[in-house]
């Protein structure tokens, strides 16, 4: 784990889980797998705090544990999973676009709580939806359960590994920690639950008419007494499937940008059909015959078979090689080259970064070197048609930032520098890794700056919150306009302006974080695709 990643993890954990969890989490990321007592000793926190922090981290799938010999349990943190916290809003928004508010809330609850049983999720989501509905209407559990089942069918949520059923009681003392197992086939199996009920509103406005003190009301609502039917079956959000969806979105929009709407629809159809059949790390999708594609096109698209064939041929002949032809049966078998697509997207990202950072002439040189693979200094000047001095300057600028690298080709065995060719080249993988590292650093900087801005104006923020609370309570008790006006004036105009500026800045910083995270996703997908090969 690089220092930049560790720093970013530390900031994320601190913001979302507090300092204690952050200390433990970062320690585990730095040092790898460790048992409980060593963690407590090395970090200098009390054993109880460590236990609490570990419970939280395990609940959120950020730390896993393993039983080693002699009954020692070791805990290991997953740095990459911590970095996913940045992407939570994107996951939730995707669920919203696909499955409306219900899906959005389900995914949000699962992400906020790490893992939950289906019944717990359904109940909570129904309650939340009921809050937002008009008075008198409630959300039925069945509807929420339906959406849950659909999410499970499309693999967006999956079961967590289960505790194996304790069959034999003669195994002596129980193991210090359960070994969780999961069967591939069962991962998306929804338990048969008959969830009957409706969402409840919070009883904020319903007081007991008799004035009976609330203490006398039975402490447990009847729900708690019933055994939970799906006890032990926990669900979590399947982040890989979301990543697959983002990747598909990126591919479709790339095709739409490069060609036209219809070809992007064709590619989208191809991706949709091979969603479940293709594993997420495959280099290309399962071959699809053009007949199948015609059948699966969305209803609105009435293009004839011939036109479709022409489009497919065009796509397959494109130099970017998004779509490839793998056979002729069934009217032509076509695949989408996923790894190639990721490579093109990463390259496009690099080009765009060079352009925005160094200018369009630098970008021209960069694209030139990309295309020609290896070029000498003189050749660069000639091909790019840029005067020697400027070309040299730009090349060195890019070289110093590691977008371009030098390749030495010795003429003589003693590698004498005067008798060696020095060629400029772009190594996409290493440039992508470098850029990814920079992205991590940028987000860490953005988060720090945002925290700094908030801390600077802490006093003002608290004051404005107080004023709003006062106004809200006064409005609830029915105060006059004049009084409200007076309270509002407690915040002076320059202070208001300061607040406005602060809000604008914080929004900008947040939006930048989201944007950088998208770049991180592309680069990480690309790097991952090269590693698996």
């Amino acid at each position: 784990m690089t220092q930049a990643e560790i720093k970013l993890c530390s900031l994320l954990l601190q913001e979302h889980f507090g300092e204690i969890v952050e200390k433990i989490g970062v320690h585990l990321i730095r040092t790898g797998s460790q048992p409980l007592r060593v963690i407590a000793h090395d970090t200098g926190t009390s054993l109880d705090q460590v236990k609490k922090a570990l419970c939280v981290l395990i609940q959120h799938n950020l730390v896993i544990y393993q039983v080693h010999k002699r009954g020692v349990v070791e805990y290991e943190a997953q740095c990459s999973r911590v970095l996913r916290i940045l992407r939570y809003p994107r996951y939730i928004y995707t669920a919203k676009t696909l499955y409306n508010d219900t899906g959005e809330l389900i995914v949000e609850e699962l992400l906020l709580n790490g893992k939950m049983t289906m019944s717990a999720v359904v109940k909570k989501v129904a309650d939340r939806l009921t809050e937002t509905m008009e008075d008198g209407k409630t959300m039925d559990y069945a509807e929420v359960a339906n959406t849950f089942v659909r999410l499970a069918d499309t693999h967006f949520v999956q079961r967590c590994p289960l505790v194996p059923a304790a069959e034999n009681s003669d195994a002596g003392p129980p193991p210090p920690a359960p070994t969780l197992v999961i069967n591939e086939k069962d991962m998306y199996l929804v338990p048969k639950l008959s969830l009957i009920g409706k969402g409840k509103r919070r009883r904020s406005s319903e007081e007991d008419a008799t004035g009976e003190p609330k203490a006398k009301r039975p402490k447990h609502t009847p729900d708690n007494k019933e055994p939970i039917p799906d006890d032990g079956i926990y669900w979590q959000a399947n982040l890989d499937r979301f990543h697959q969806h983002f990747r598909d979105q990126a591919i479709v929009s790339a095709v739409a940008n490069r060609m036209d709407q219809t070809s992007s629809e064709i590619v989208r159809t191809m991706l949709r059909v091979s969603e479940i059949t293709t594993p997420s790390s495959a280099p290309f999708t399962q071959p699809l015959s053009s007949n199948e594609i015609v059948r699966s096109l969305p209803v609105g698209y009435n293009i004839s078979k011939q036109v479709l064939d022409q489009y497919l041929t065009l796509l397959a002949d494109d130099p970017l090689e998004f779509v490839g032809k793998s056979g002729d049966s069934g009217g032509g078998m076509y695949v989408i080259n996923l790894h190639k697509v990721l490579g093109s997207l990463a390259t496009a990202t690099l080009e765009s970064v060079v352009q925005e950072r160094f200018g369009s002439r630098c970008a021209r040189i960069f694209r030139l070197v990309l295309q020609k693979k290896h070029l000498e200094q003189k050749q660069v000047e000639d091909f790019a048609m840029i005067p020697a001095k400027e070309a040299k300057d730009m090349l060195y600028k890019m070289l110093s930032e590691n977008f371009i690298s030098l390749q030495e080709i010795p003429k003589t065995p003693d590698h004498a520098p005067s008798r060696t060719f020095y060629l400029y080249t772009v190594n996409i993988l290493s440039a992508a890794r470098m850029l990814l590292h920079r992205c991590y650093k940028s987000i860490a900087n953005l988060i720090e700056r945002r925290q700094f801005e908030t801390k600077e104006n802490k006093r003002l923020l608290e004051k404005s919150q107080r004023v709003e609370a006062i106004i809200a309570s006064m409005q609830a008790t029915g105060a006059e306009e004049a009084q409200l006006q007076e309270i509002e004036e407690m915040i002076t105009a320059p202070e208001r302006q300061q607040l406005e500026t602060l809000k604008r800045n914080v929004n900008k910083l947040d939006a930048s974080e989201i944007q950088v995270d998208e770049t991180i996703f592309l680069l990480e997908s690309y790097i991952e695709s090269t590693v698996k090969r």
């Binding site: 204690i20 609490k52 922090a53 609940q59 904020s204 919150q465 809000k503 947040d510």
Partner: protein, 218 residues
């Protein structure tokens, strides 16, 4: 540039490689040497591209800020223990400083976690009694008879209504042996004329969670 450093010994200005090959012609002015680390905020040559705006961007932004605020309120956000103040104050009795240090606010499924992570929470009940002790007559046993008798006597004296609440509560706690503290502060603790939530020593007024706020939390 290892060659440049190596050439220093032999003769100044002599390099082992051909400068023209790298692109520095004879007599060209070299850039000035760097004597200090690069500035913290170097001036930008080109303005950055504007951020994506529009419905989607705004929605995701609002989601992000809400999420941040929401996660701070969840029980998973562990706050470090409030440091003990030097002198015991009167208001301490009326303030709940959060969960007693060693308990967790939420209930994980203990079957899924290693056994060593489970925190024994018997302390909870003991601590509870110490807090309540000053206000109550000696602890009663779980004997229902006694409790009922006591209830009757207590009913006559209005001041003692509080103890009844506490005893009932304690009984419930001991019977169920649960680790949760569903501690409804305002109703259960003391049924004095002063309802708990109205007591406020002004220290953290306004910093609480928001029921009605639609704004994002920073």
């Amino acid at each position: 540039m290892a060659s440049r450093g190596g050439g220093r010994g032999r003769g100044r200005g002599q390099l082992t490689f051909n400068m023209e090959a790298v692109g520095i012609g004879k007599g060209d002015a070299l850039p000035p040497p760097t004597l200090q680390p690069s500035p913290l905020f170097p001036p930008l040559e080109f303005r950055p591209v504007p951020l994506p705006s529009g419905e989607e961007g705004e929605y995701v932004l609002a989601l992000k800020q809400e999420l941040r605020g929401a996660m701070r309120q969840l029980p998973y956000f562990i706050r470090p223990a409030v440091p003990k103040r030097d002198v015991e104050r009167y208001s301490d009795k009326y303030q709940m400083s959060g969960p007693i240090d060693n308990a967790i606010d939420w209930n994980p499924d203990w079957r899924r976690l290693p056994r060593e992570l489970k925190i024994r929470v018997r302390k909870l009940q003991k601590e509870r009694t110490t807090i309540l002790l000053p206000r109550r007559p000696p602890k009663t046993t779980e004997d229902k008879e006694e409790t009922i008798q006591k209830l009757e006597t207590l009913e006559k004296k209005e001041e003692e209504v509080t103890s009844e609440e506490d005893e009932e509560k304690e009984e419930e706690e001991e019977k169920e042996e649960e680790e949760e503290e569903e501690y409804d502060e305002e109703e259960h603790e003391e049924e004095t004329d002063y309802i708990m939530s109205y007591f406020d020593n002004g220290e953290d007024f306004g910093g609480d969670s928001d029921d009605n706020m639609d704004e994002a939390i920073y």
